[in-house]
Structure formats: structure tokens, C-alpha cells
């Protein structure tokens, strides 16, 4: 039954807001189908993010977009752009209290022990390009600790590493796209890194690390391949086993094709506006 702008179903009221991007409305409906809800300010923030991505020409480069947000974990588990991933991410040991929508503790928080998720995105089955690939995540928290901690990754046993992580190799924040060995990581300096972190290849196997949309560190070429497995978040998928668990807050997971330096900056600006709308931005 539809009354004006309000459509009522047996399970939950479906409230459609005018002026919202159709892709955001589609996400809202998938949230509701998963038993979640989303308020108008959060829906508008998602809509503004998608519209800005579309108007800048970057949306067509997106392969997967997950901005965990909404009124509860059931909403936060639904990606905005599913692509070849799962329509709802599979969480391991994560409880409702691990997710907060807005503010300084916003995002999904890991515990460095057993909490992580799998979003069903395998770069091999997707057919992703090693020389045209971007892995990005918006995180709060640094992990200057004596052990590796992973934001997201898939890799074989010490080979074919595609990831964003705090790594003990050089004790640095690192990114890689099909690194054959640990010596092929693109590291930043050994200091705290949080906010929008990204590693990108754009027309070659040269990997460039970005922090807040700005190229950081020296590019490093990789010679390995993608490992045939799904990315895990808040942990690495190490040859099928979760490990190197993170304690950070995850506020976005984005996979794109290759981005230029200018596109990285635009992508960051749009992401920063979204996180700011939810009060969970990190000042660079």
C-alpha cells in the first residue's frame, strides 16, 4: 500500500525521501530488506557521496563501495555498491556494540583477536587488473605495535599480497597490489596513519601509496599476482585463514580501477565530506 511518499509493507515501513539519488535509494531498500533502518541525515550523506562520485566521473571506476552506516549492524553490513561482492557482508564474532554510526567512535571496530568480515570479493574471479587497481579504506586508529595488523587483505603464504596494513616489514603502514614478496610493499614512513588510506596502480605495476588523497612515499613495482581468495576486513585472508587482526575502526572499504593522483584527491575530498557528515572525519 502506498500513501503519498510513504509506502507501507507488512514488515517495516518503507519511507522514501525525495531528492535522494536512485542508487542511494536502492541501498536504503536493501538495508530494509536486511532488517535494518537508516535515518534521513545518513541516507542524505550516502546520496551526496554517490552523486559527487557520479558527477566527478569516478563512480564508473568503482568496483565495490562499502560505507558502513545506518541505525544498526544489520544496516551497516549492506554495501552501497555490491559489484561482484556479497549483498550482505559475512561478519565473524562481530556484535551490535561493535558498530556506531556517527561521531568519534563511528564505524565497525575490531578487537585485534577474532573479529573480522568477508565481503565475498575475490580479485581473481572478478578478473581485476593488477596494473589498474585501487584499494582504499577510511580508518580511525593507528597500530604502532610489534606485530602486523591488517585493514584488509588477501594473500597466499607470504606471496601475492594485496592489502592495506600495518606491517612489521620495516614497521610501516603499507599497501600492495599483488606483491610477490614483502620487499615489494609500498610503505609510508614509520608514523601514525589514519583517515583515508589507499594504494593504487594506474597503468603499470608501480604501486603508489596515498594518505588523504596525497601521494606518500616512493612508488614500488610489484611482480606477483592476485591470490585466489576473498578479501577479509579487520584481518587478512592468509591462504584461507584469518590472521593479523586489527583494532581499528573501519569507516569505508572502496575498490576501484586505477586512479590518477588528481582522481585520488577528488576521491578523498568526496569521502571526507561523507565522513564529516556523520561526524567521523579524521583531520589529516
Amino acid at each position: 500500500m502506498i500513501i503519498g511518499r510513504f509506502s507501507l509493507s507488512r514488515r517495516k515501513p518503507l519511507i522514501e525521501f525525495p531528492g535522494i539519488d536512485p542508487t542511494a535509494r536502492d541501498w536504503q531498500q536493501r538495508v530494509i530488506a536486511n532488517g535494518g533502518t537508516v535515518t534521513l541525515p545518513t541516507l542524505k550523506a550516502v546520496s551526496d557521496y554517490i552523486r559527487a562520485q557520479k558527477s566527478s566521473g569516478l563512480w564508473s571506476k568503482k568496483l565495490y563501495v562499502h560505507l558502513p552506516c545506518g541505525d544498526q549492524l544489520a544496516a551497516a553490513k549492506v554495501p552501497q555498491l555490491v559489484g561482484a561482492g556479497s549483498s550482505v557482508v559475512t561478519t565473524f564474532n562481530i556484535v551490535e556494540g561493535d558498530f556506531v554510526n556517527t561521531g568519534a567512535t563511528g564505524g565497525v571496530k575490531g578487537n585485534g583477536l577474532d573479529k573480522y568480515w568477508n565481503f565475498g570479493w575475490n580479485p581473481v574471479t572478478v578478473g581485476a587488473s593488477l596494473s589498474n587497481f585501487t584499494l582504499s579504506s577510511y580508518v580511525r586508529g593507528t597500530e604502532l605495535v610489534g606485530t602486523s595488523r591488517t585493514i584488509l587483505a588477501v594473500n597466499g603464504p607470504s606471496i601475492n599480497l594485496t592489502q592495506l596494513a600495518w606491517a612489521m616489514v620495516g614497521t610501516a603502514e603499507i599497501g600492495s597490489v599483488g606483491a610477490a614478496t614483502t620487499s615489494e610493499y609500498a610503505p609510508t614512513v614509520n608514523s601514525a596513519r589514519e583517515g583515508y588510506l589507499s594504494v593504487s596502480t594506474n597503468g603499470s605495476r608501480s604501486q603508489q601509496y596515498y594518505v588523504a588523497g596525497v601521494a606518500t612515499g616512493t612508488p614500488v613495482s610489484a611482480t606477483g599476482a592476485f591470490f585466489n581468495g576473498d578479501f577479509f576486513v579487520l584481518a587478512g585472508n592468509n591462504n584461507g585463514t584469518a590472521g593479523s587482526f586489527s583494532t581499528r575502526y573501519i569507516r569505508a572499504i572502496v575498490i576501484s580501477t586505477g586512479l590518477s593522483a588528481a582522481e585520488q584527491l577528488t576521491d578523498y575530498t568526496i569521502m571526507q565530506a561523507f565522513q564529516t557528515a556523520l561526524g567521523r572525519q579524521i583531520t589529516p
Binding site: V88, T90, T91, N93, V95, E96, G97, D114
Partner: protein, 80 residues
Amino acid sequence: MTRLVVNPQQVDVINALLPSDTRVSAVRLTDNAFTLGADLLTDCDTPTDTYYEAREILHSLPQREITSEEILNQVVSDER
């Protein structure tokens, strides 16, 4: 920290009860005991809770205080 003592067969039973997008996986301790986080009990008592379908078995698990030195590794359930 407080953990729930579990065995691998119970982990599989719990996962069989849960929706396919919700899973538990156990952490193995140095004495080869397996444990789950006690915070699962904070999210299983009402029908909209994440682990509601497994509430009975979760509440039946004994609790144990462990130290970080006792943690050996994390075990992924076969149900994944």
C-alpha cells in the same frame, strides 16, 4: 578477558543455527581449549539480536577468564 569455552563441534552447531551472513569462529588457547568472546551474550537475547538463533547454546557455554598470553591462534570454522 572473559571468554566462552566451546569445542569445534559446538562452533559448527552455532553456525548452523545462525543466518548465513553471521558466523562465529573460535580462538585456540595454549592449552588447546577453544573459546568465543563473551560479548556474544550481549547480542543474543531478543529476536532482533545478531546471535538470537544460537542463544540457548551460547548461554550454556562455561565462562573462563584468560590472559593474552594464553591465546594461541584463531580458528576459522568449517562453516565459512
